[in-house]
Symmetry: C2
Subunit: 289 residues, 2 copies
């Protein structure tokens, strides 16, 4: 059921992004945008669509916010893979944008994907009321920019050249910004679309986001690069502090399970309607990519 819902969300979001990009001018940037937004788990899109469903907002509306967060996520990956950042050649098992095209195209493609995310949120289809669209945009600028994701990336880069590895508090703050902010936005978007309090889903999202990152660190150590579709073991090679280096492998796994339980507990007020989101929390720590 969860796997079906995840696949369904992925398909709806892909169609939405394909349609939106079909009105963009032909050229290498639009090609590289299409390339960058295809594939992936679409976990953020799934969170938007399932979160919205809890409040009675249908996928045909929430898919626009879901597509927006996937465009924003894709931009962050394209820039993150650049030689001056993480310098990765492979993403989702395919050459990264700066390898397939070149660095300039990768910079511009990321830039254009960020603008696309706001384009999608500003469209009437995203929400009938302009107030709602503005709130989605306002919260997105906070989650994605220098107060959220970009700040997390900067902290991550600073950590690489720091004299002492980060401690648990510092790495939790870093990850809350780097991946947590966009995951939190995804889970809260449904409540915003419905004009409801974002509180209950924020709690779910915070636990989920942290569990997601701990699972990433575990995968970096004991994962299968072929399944993950990207280079693994690179944090250890770089001598970076991770949840695994700080808590040990067993400790990290225990902490991830604890967080999944917290995420599930936060869904209690929603009863059976939140079954897919509960399974998503389990999925986050059992995935292999």
């Amino acid at each position: 059921m969860f796997k079906n819902a995840l696949a369904q969300a992925a398909e709806e979001v892909s169609t939405c992004l394909t349609n939106a990009l079909s009105t963009y001018p032909d050229g290498p940037i639009t090609d590289a945008m299409r390339y960058s937004v295809s594939g992936g788990k679409r976990l953020r899109a799934f969170l938007v669509i399932e979160g919205a469903r809890l409040y009675g907002v249908y996928p045909r509306q929430s898919v626009w916010a879901a597509a927006a967060v996937e465009a924003m996520h894709a931009y962050s990956l394209v820039h993150d893979d650049l030689p001056c950042m993480d310098d990765d050649d492979l993403r989702r098992g395919l050459p990264t944008v700066h390898i397939k095209w070149d660095e300039a195209t990768a910079v511009l493609t990321g830039d254009a994907l960020q603008a696309l995310a706001f384009d999608l949120l500003a469209r009437p289809e995203a929400a009938p009321k302009a107030e709602t669209r503005v709130e989605l945009i306002q919260t997105m600028t906070k989650a994605a920019g220098a107060r959220g994701m970009v700040r997390g990336q900067a902290l991550d880069i600073a950590a690489e050249s720091a004299l002492t590895p980060l401690n648990l508090e510092e790495i939790t703050e870093l990850q809350a910004a780097k991946t947590g902010a966009l995951i939190e936005w995804s889970a809260m978007a449904g409540a915003i679309l419905a004009g409801q309090d974002v509180g209950p889903l924020r709690h779910y999202a915070d636990a989920l986001g942290l569990a997601f990152q701990i699972a990433d660190d575990i995968m970096d150590v004991e994962g299968d690069a072929a399944k993950a579709g990207k280079r693994l073991g690179k944090d250890e090679d770089a001598g970076k502090a991770t949840f695994v280096s700080l808590l040990g492998l067993d400790g990290a796994k225990a902490r991830a399970r604890e967080l999944v339980a917290e995420a599930e507990a936060a869904l209690a007020p929603f009863g059976d309607k939140a079954q897919n989101l509960r399974q998503a929390a389990q999925f986050v720590i059992s995935r292999d990519s």
Copy 2:
């Protein structure tokens, strides 16, 4: 009078940006954002504020849209200066962001400045009605992303490796996207803020944007690098087609004067109220930086 209005707009926008960034978290990205949005002619901000004034919208409101377009412009400069793009060490007489910090910081700072632009447009201070803010955002995504500025940058990069130099039509299209789209948005924002037809100012802006670019090409050939605060002569060194290489120096100057006359003519319906915008058109082709 025009010089005073330009200086006044610059000061108001600087204050607005400083205030907005004062709530951003401390760190190198926020520092580099402050650095990147300081200085510059603020021509785009001036166009927003003067365009809005024509429709009775006061600077205390239009300054938010003016600050947004300056943030967007600053992001484009930071990314444009990167080694994989134009590879410039100097901007406004100071080291570019990737020289003063590093490349990763420059990529992230540009990313954060784009998010800041949308943050500013989404704020209630930018326009009382949410509909108006959404329209500013929607038009901005078109002007700045893969349908506007980013497309122009990509065409510019493609031109560098093209086998034959661009012709006049191609270079006009390239420049209309690369610099014209954001200048056009700036001139039209006032009409959007006032809920009026953007037509008359669009015509002004299109002529102004092209005149601006021709003037840039002229300055690249006969300008003073110390006054311009950036490296000059680089288009000629790169063997790139410019308005000067295509029309000759005298032809380019004549075309720029013609476009300024067109821009002025488009302001006729506004009478004396548009005096500052008329002088702005003159300024665009007489500036030395």
